[in-house]
């Protein structure tokens, strides 16, 4: 047991123990413990295996970036155990070990490491190619990820869009000071801290550090700063679009915050850099910060006999912390020229350290404090290219852009007072610059509150630069060790890659995969550059660094996706459909009744009696203005200048290429008032198409187009008894055949609802009335029709019934019976084409298309065997060959005719009535079918529809 007596700054609650399991074994910790601190307190030293060589690994950095800390928690893989807090009952397991963490048989790759050089995979598994499936299976078992359970229930992920004046990335002393000053200067500030609480390194510091942290935290609260802890600024994009992953949301697993900040202050502190030497990945080798966090935050002593190799005050402080924790401590001071050579020991822990002067020091803990990596990630994303400082031995920003400011260790060194004063100045500068940006935004936005005063100037940066403290250049010892712990890439691998010619750090990175593992360069970037510089005989500054890209910290796919909001549309009759057994289908975003249990029965009832259908999704546009006929004339292939008031006309629209775009009917309701309908799926594109012509080519035409699809509930009443039924509910409209003819429109009162309009058209091929009711009363009219027509055997029919009836009637559907190449003549509708019009969309191409005798044409088709329904999209081939000459576009069993019927596109040579076709079925059969004289299989003369 290595749990220490209570420490003054610890953040665990010792009065509440928390039980969880580790690899099936019960472990106890305290509230506030991370998995790492609880396991270490319980004596666990090995928590994972390395990716390639399966070497045992223990905690090294003891924070979010620890490359050895990924574990499986329940069904969640890749949990960062040095960050995740323990919860009662949590099941924690080592991930991707086989058969166990203690004995991973794949560790046999370790002795072969000398052969597993960079590029080994690329070079080895290329040949023989037929073995690749086997290679793939074996290599997949080495994948470092955890176990994904495909049955994991989807959990709630959230999103939030905010527009703060200032976002401060990093809640250490500098970040807090900047946030406080910014807020006190009047800015709305969002402070984002990666750890579970504010304070940064002050949290694991001495009494004065913690006191300072406490003061700053109190000031943050007083200043009204919005604080997000356990959250990370994961990316900075154009115009300060900031992505923040919030992991501790009360109701969501994770929340992605998209913040449009006027100014970003980058104050993430520094990340401690590992040292490269033989055995540097063995359990028991830790960085100084890791030790300080274990001891001071969690009251855990990570070793009893420690060697501390230090080059800076943090290392010195770690040694002092261990001494206070009653560990045996030996200090090796790099500033005095001391150095370490290798860590010794196998299995669970190191046993000793070999020192450069030849000594061998027995220990179970080796602590290194050899320098810092500046996490310049957000600056990289802002376009900055950091530069290396040979004295401070780390990278610094070069020239960040004006709405991105830097504070804290990223900007320089100094006393707490110096760093905090610099940060406060940064916060005030950020607030001032945010005011200038806000003024511009407000002044440019009509709806915003009116601005007062003149535009504030862009404040200049008058901050005094922070000093840079010298630090020994410690990257690699005399031996080789790991540079990238996530990817098992050693300094020896990197020198070999450099020998192969990879002399650019960007290429070296991709070839060796150094910096490409889960820690994404946080720990290994500087060492990677340093080793390459050593190989090339150049300076680190000359080699330069890699470019850090988003995300700075991982975000789950769920977090990126956010809540699964998928819009759907319903008509006002939806409650009735739901209550009356409708089986629904999704048509675009519309939820529509496909049928009510018996689509064939619905067809027969409509043919014999009367049926009603909810056709609300039919696109509807209110067109007003004196130039509407000009617009219709331009968009449709037929003529519209003389459509009488009260009449309806069918039209087909084509693209400029002559391809069929949409079809529908348009009614003239008044002198300058028309109602246009489109296909349900074409509504949006037709609106855009019409507006595009109006706004770009004919801005002088006086036409207002208003979409009213949902404003009217549309009900198709079809069947021989439809007139009788509609008459029972309609006032002020003469429904006699002579007074209200086929393809006419009337406006009247239906079931007490005024301002309904109805027209006589017939997609089903039956006498039918399409009634359009103001949507707030749609359900009422629907129910009234059902009640009034009970004795007429009125029944609803769904989309499937309509599809069958329209196919029986031979009506094509744009997008089903046509495709992106189908031009008007192919539909057999060339008679609608009015080439004597001055101009219309597609006219030149249609002139060509009319002369084209090679394009497929749409024909009615009936299989020889009436019981066989060919598959839609089934290929039509030339008899006795596999040469494709067409395809079935629509097919159904017709309950009216008692046989299968189709529409299809075939080459002209096979399109004559009576031609015999061969249709391929998906089960491999070939069936014969015959081309019909008409598209219509039923009532080709149209007697019923005109009834």
């Amino acid at each position: 047991m290595t749990r220490l007596p209570p420490r003054p700054g610890e953040i665990i609650g010792r009065t509440r123990s928390v039980d969880f399991s580790w690899n099936g074994r019960r472990v106890s910790g305290f509230e506030g413990d991370t998995i790492a601190s609880a396991l270490t307190a319980a004596g666990v030293r090995v928590v994972s295996r390395s990716m390639k060589y399966r070497r045992p690994r223990g905690y090294m950095t003891n924070d979010y970036w620890d490359p050895n800390a990924l574990v499986q928690v329940g069904d969640e893989p890749n949990v960062r155990s040095a960050h995740r807090l323990i919860e009662p009952g949590m099941a924690v397991e080592a991930q991707n070990v086989w058969p166990s963490l203690e004995r991973d048989l794949r560790a046999v790759t370790g002795p072969a490491s000398r052969f597993l050089t960079p590029g080994f995979y690329y070079k080895t598994f290329m040949r023989p190619r037929w073995l690749w499936p086997t290679y793939e299976k074996v290599l997949a078992t080495f994948s470092p990820g955890g176990r994904i359970d495909l049955d994991t229930p989807h959990r709630y992920h959230d999103k939030r869009y905010i527009h703060p004046d200032v976002v401060v990335a990093g809640g250490g002393p500098a970040g807090m000071a900047a946030a406080i000053a910014g807020a006190e200067a009047g800015a709305r500030v969002l402070l984002v801290e990666h750890f579970h609480r504010l304070g940064g390194h002050l949290l694991w510091g001495d009494d004065s550090d913690r006191a300072l942290a406490g003061e700053l935290v109190a000031e943050v609260a007083d200043a009204g700063v919005e604080v997000l802890t356990d959250s990370t600024v994961t990316g900075r994009y154009e115009d300060n679009w900031i992505a923040i992953a919030q992991r501790n949301h009360p109701v969501a697993v994770e929340r992605l915050i998209k913040a449009r900040a006027k100014v970003l202050v980058v104050a993430p502190g520094l990340i401690e850099r590992p040292y490269v030497f033989a055995g540097n990945d063995k359990p028991g080798v830790m960085l100084s910060g890791a030790v300080r966090r274990f001891v001071n935050l969690y009251g855990v002593r990570p070793g009893a006999a420690a060697v501390v190799f230090t080059a800076n005050p943090e290392g010195d402080a770690a040694a002092a912390d261990l001494e206070r924790a009653e560990a045996d401590v030996t200090v090796l001071d790099a500033r005095r020229g001391e150095n370490i050579v290798r860590a010794l020991g196998r299995g669970k822990s190191i046993k000793a350290v070999e020192v450069a002067d030849g000594r061998r020091l027995e220990c179970d803990l080796l602590v290194t404090a050899t320098g810092w990596t500046a996490p310049t990630s957000l600056l990289n994303m802002s376009g900055d290219r950091p530069v290396y400082d040979e004295v401070a031995t780390r990278f610094f920003p070069s020239a960040p852009i004006g709405n991105v400011l830097v504070a804290g260790g990223l900007a320089g060194d100094g006393t707490h007072e110096q760093l905090i004063e610099h940060a406060r100045t940064t916060g005030r500068l950020a607030a001032a610059r945010a005011r200038s940006v806000a003024y511009s935004l407000q002044a440019a936005t009509a709806r915003a509150k009116a601005v007062s005063g003149s535009q504030p100037g862009w404040p200049t940066d008058t901050r005094r630069s922070l000093p840079r403290h010298p630090h020994p250049p410690l990257f690699r010892s005399a031996t080789h060790g790991l540079v990238d712990f996530s990817e098992d890439v050693s300094s020896k691998d990197m020198l070999g890659a450099a020998d192969e010619g990879y002399d650019s750090v960007e290429l070296l990175k991709r070839y060796t995969t150094a910096t490409m593992g889960p820690s994404q360069g946080k720990l290994e970037t500087v060492n990677t550059v340093a080793v390459l510089a050593e190989a090339l005989g150049r300076t680190i500054g000359e080699v330069g660094t890699t470019v850090w890209r988003p995300p700075y910290a991982p975000i789950t796919m769920g977090g990126l996706g956010g809540p699964m909001y998928e819009p759907v549309r319903v008509s006002s009759i939806q409650p009735w459909h739901e209550a009356n057994g409708a089986v629904f289908m999704l048509a675009g975003q519309w939820i529509r009744p496909d049928h009510y249990g018996d689509p064939s029965g619905e067809v027969l009832n409509t043919r014999r009696n009367v049926g009603i259908m909810d056709v609300t999704p039919l696109g509807k546009f209110d067109l007003r203005g004196p130039d509407v006929p000009k617009l219709l004339n331009h968009l449709y292939i037929n003529k519209w200048m003389k459509l009488p008031v009260g009449s309806v006309r069918y039209g087909i629209m084509c693209t400029e290429e002559g391809v069929v775009l949409d079809d529908g009917v348009t009614a003239r309701l008044g002198d300058h008032h028309y109602m246009m309908t489109t296909t349900s799926s074409g509504t949006a594109s037709v609106w855009e198409w019409a507006e595009n012509w109006l706004q770009t080519e004919f801005p002088d035409w006086q036409v207002h187009i208003t979409p009213v699809t949902s404003g009217f509930t549309s009900i198709n009443v079809a069947g021989p008894e439809s007139r009788t039924l509609v008459r029972r509910l309609t006032m002020d409209v003469n429904l006699d055949p002579a007074a209200f003819k086929y393809m006419q429109v009337r406006t009247g009162t239906v079931a007490g609802v005024p301002d309904c309009f109805m027209w006589r058209i017939g997609f089903t091929g039956e006498l039918s009335f399409e009634i359009h009711v103001p949507a707030g009363y749609g359900l009422h009219v629907w129910e009234a029709l059902l009640e009034a027509g009970e004795d007429l055997r009125v029944r609803p029919f769904g989309v499937e019934g309509q599809r069958i009836m329209r196919l029986e009637k031979g009506h094509f559907i744009v997008g089903q019976d046509t495709d992106g190449l189908t031009k008007l003549p192919a539909l057999g509708m060339a008679h609608l084409l009015k080439l004597d019009k001055h101009d219309f969309v597609g006219k030149p191409e249609l002139l060509w298309a009319l002369a084209d005798t090679s394009a497929p044409v749409l024909v009615g088709i009936q299989p020889t065997d009436p019981s066989i329904v060919p598959d839609e999209a089934g290929q039509i081939v030339r008899p006795g060959t596999d040469e494709i000459i067409g395809r079935i576009t629509s097919s159904r069993m017709s309950p009216t005719l008692g046989r299968s019927i189709c529409l299809g596109q075939v080459l002209p040579e096979a399109s004559k009535a009576g031609s015999e076709l061969t249709v391929l079925m998906t089960d491999g059969r070939r069936i014969t079918a015959r081309v019909m004289a008409h598209h219509a299989h039923f009532d080709p003369e149209g007697e019923r529809v005109r009834g």
Partner: protein, 198 residues
Amino acid sequence: MADIPTFESTVPAPYVSYAGVPMESGRPDSPLTLRDVSSVTKSIVRAGPETKACHRLSTPFGAARTEDGVLIIGQRPDEWVLTGHGSAIRALTESLDRSGHISIIDGTHNSAIFRLTGAGAASVLEKLCSLDWRDLMTPDGAAVSGSVAHVTCDIVRNDQDITPSYLISCDRSYGQYLFAVILDAGHEFGISPLDMLA
């Protein structure tokens, strides 16, 4: 022949959030409420900048103001939405000079309108829409258009006394979805659905 029926709400009770959580009808004095107010009369007026109607409405694009009980919303360039009681709307539209190219369309049934009211209303919108809901950028009387949970909506800040309130309008067919989504987003803030006012 039946009388003119009651206007049907786009959101039939009982109310259920998008996540499937049943939600009880709340009281009007709840701190955060969502109510279907779709039955309000709406007129869409389209008139060019040269028309007298445009000058008469005198509400710029992006702003809304109330006149004689009618909320006049400058929803798009050369397009206004008038909402309010039917008689007040009629009085205003009948007073408009019809010279020039002008259209007046009854939009009552075309859209669903929900009123989101409460101190936390902006926090709910922040979860669903990327616009800036702070007072400076969208004060009382601001009219905006944007995507709310992937649905195109028109939103008007129309405070109730001093309580922030937003009228969120979408195509009627999306109403049921949008209401459920707003309830879902507002769940963490204690949102209560209210029954539609007749």
